[in-house]
């Protein structure tokens, strides 16, 4: 999926996460993680982000994650929505999504 502009999904409510995806002018993936669960789930959150991006076939992106203790499923859903918005895709292939 090609990232065209910046895309955001989610809120800053407790148990939610706000994720912003934009193009990385350099190569590769940059994750900016701000999380109150950092100490105990930081690595797991990065893993979920990397894994989800791989499945969506997205490369060279900057991902800003403002986490309020969201569960893995929430992180995946918000990231997917943010990527679709950043790619300018308005139709979601619901059947194909995890």
């Amino acid at each position: 999926m090609r990232i065209l502009h910046s895309g955001t999904a989610g809120t800053l409510e407790s148990s939610d996460v706000m994720i912003t995806v934009e193009r990385n002018p350099e190569k590769g993936l940059i994750i900016e993680l701000e999380s109150i669960s950092e100490a105990r789930f930081g690595n797991r959150i990065r893993e979920v982000i990397t894994d989800t991006l791989k499945k969506l076939q997205v490369q060279d992106v900057k991902v800003r994650v403002q986490d309020r203790s969201a569960l893995d499923c929430t992180i995946r859903a918000r990231l997917t929505a943010a990527v679709f918005r950043a790619a300018g895709i308005e139709k979601y292939p619901w059947e194909e999504l995890e």
Binding site: S15, A39, L71, D72
Partner: protein, 514 residues
């Protein structure tokens, strides 16, 4: 027999066989230095203990480097007294003090500076919160903080393990001779249960008030015969932080679900019978249990003999409608409780030793049938943590948790299975405050677990078809939702020691790495 003449000019024996040596009278004031010598002079002002400033009171008490000062926490988040007194002590250049407050809250951030500058060297407290707790968790102090339970503190003071040189006690109403109570005045806080122990045992007692009333200030909680000096200040606390009007019943559906399930557990546990006694700890779900119990009590015509502990408007309401016969109050949580302790004949103030000192001749937690308590974490051994948060930083209080858990017939822990993405039921709690052998039942929003040492309770809950699991099953349920957390990044330095109520050390807390 040899006779001598005493100061009254009378001849008396110096020694009498079978009685022993006798002290001849030396004059009315000679042996009672605290009695005013001016008695009889009609021109002197009325006797009182008021000194003009806190500074003078501190100097008159002879406070010196290395001594122990104490405070109470009845003003909770609204306390002005600790910061006010410690600022003046710091200005006087006194250092290396031990600060023994019955607890500390997030309004005590200014203590950080006093610790940095060496004014405070050691801290005894039940709890720590906010910036102060955060700094201490990051290694601010060289000597670990000693965390004690409310009963454990009373024990330490009464046995002399904790010897208080000067107690600085904020009191919402006081007369000029030191009779003080907590239920009247603009800074009313209700029970002064924790302050009473300090007043009885500290070498010097300074009362600080913003409400001087006519003598004698009856009924009083702190007696004049214990008080050395009185200082009048503009305000001892912020009423907004001391107590809210009435503790609001939680509207969080999850907390209500847990509370309702907990009330079903209590009703079927075998402990719910006419004349039972109950305490509910702080926390939304624990407090909400009261409401569901009330319905069940009305339904089955069951009355409670007494309610204990931190008293709230819900308890007061049930007392006033005759469902709870007596209230024993060591701490009043809201203004309804403050009103009631002043008005209701059978709403009785108790001190921390009466409440929970394990070494006196009978503390009231031993008479408790049911207690409902919160938990930050609980492990598969039923050990409970109420002091360190999921990030390893201190943000809570030991309080009466371990005291009531062991004293009660049935200790019920209420907690959501998961908070955010942090599991509550885990393999090993970060810090043990209450040992699992004193915990009976865990109630979560996903089911109930009974400590295997209470098989009869387990049978009763099963017979009532309540959703019972093993605690391992609940742990797995939690992990399935959240994933398994990584270990906390603790360093080497020990920042706090956790004392069990009997004075032994049950756990320690290490610094958290930034």
């Amino acid at each position: 027999m040899k006779l001598v003449k005493n100061a009254a000019g009378r001849e008396i024996p110096e020694l009498f066989p079978g009685i022993g040596k006798l002290e001849p009278f030396q004059g009315a004031y000679a042996r009672t230095p605290l009695v005013r010598r001016e008695k009889g002079s009609r021109t002197l002002p009325r006797l009182n203990k008021i000194v003009d400033t806190l500074e003078q009171a501190i100097l008159k008490c002879g406070l010196q480097d290395g001594m122990t000062v104490s405070f109470h926490h009845h003003f909770r988040e609204g306390d002005y007294v600790v910061n006010m007194v410690m600022d003046i002590i710091a200005n006087l250049g006194i250092k290396n003090l031990t600060l023994a407050s019955s607890s500390l809250t997030s309004c005590h951030t200014p203590l950080v500076e006093h610790i940095r500058k060496g004014v405070i060297k050691r801290i005894y407290t039940s709890g720590l919160r906010g910036v102060l707790a955060d700094e201490i968790s990051h290694g601010l102090m060289d000597t670990p903080v000693l965390i004690h339970s409310h009963g454990g503190r009373a024990r330490a003071i009464e046995t002399g393990q904790l010897s208080i040189d000067v107690a600085f006690l904020g009191v919402p109403s006081c007369d000029l001779y030191g009779n003080a109570n907590g239920f009247s005045g603009k800074s009313a806080c209700g029970s002064l249960g924790y302050a009473i122990v300090d007043a009885r045992h500290a070498k010097k007692v300074v009362l600080i008030t913003d409400n001087l009333v006519d003598y004698p200030n009856t009924p009083f909680s702190i007696d004049q015969d214990l008080v050395d000096y009185i200082v009048i200040v503009d305000a001892i606390g912020d009423p907004q932080g001391i107590a809210t009007g009435a503790t609001r019943m939680t509207r969080d559906p999850r907390e209500l679900l847990i509370a309702e399930l907990a009330s079903q557990v209590i009703v079927t546990s075998g402990y719910f019978e006419d004349g039972f006694s109950v305490q509910t700890g702080s926390g939304g779900a624990a407090l909400a249990v009261t409401r569901f119990l009330r319905e069940k009590m009305l339904e089955r015509n069951v009355k409670a003999s007494f309610a204990l502990g931190g008293i709230t408007s819900q308890i007061v309401k049930m007392h006033e409608e005759g469902l709870i016969k007596r209230i024993l109050d060591v701490q009043s949580f809201d203004l309804e409780a403050v009103r009631s302790i002043g008005e209701n004949r059978y709403h009785t103030e108790i001190d921390a030793s009466y409440y929970a000192n394990p070494l006196n001749k009978g503390c009231v937690v031993n008479k408790l049938n049911v207690v409902v308590l919160s938990a930050m974490e609980i492990d598969t051994e039923f050990n409970v943590n109420v002091i360190t948060g999921s990030d390893g930083i201190i943000r809570g209080a030991s309080g009466g948790h371990s005291d009531t858990a062991i004293g009660s017939g049935l200790s019920v822990i209420v907690a959501p299975l998961v908070r955010g993405r942090t599991p509550t039921v885990i393999d090993k709690v970060t810090t043990v405050i209450t040992p699992g052998e004193t915990v009976d039942v865990l109630v979560t929003d996903h089911g109930v677990a009974v400590n295997p040492r209470r098989p009869e309770v387990l049978e009763r809950l099963k017979a009532a078809r309540l959703p019972v699991y093993t605690i391992e099953e609940l742990k797995k349920k939690a992990e399935k939702v959240t994933g398994i957390p990584e270990p906390l990044p603790f360093g080497k330095k020990i920042v706090a020691l956790v004392e069990y109520r009997d004075g032994t050390i049950i756990d320690m807390i290490r610094e958290i790495q930034p």
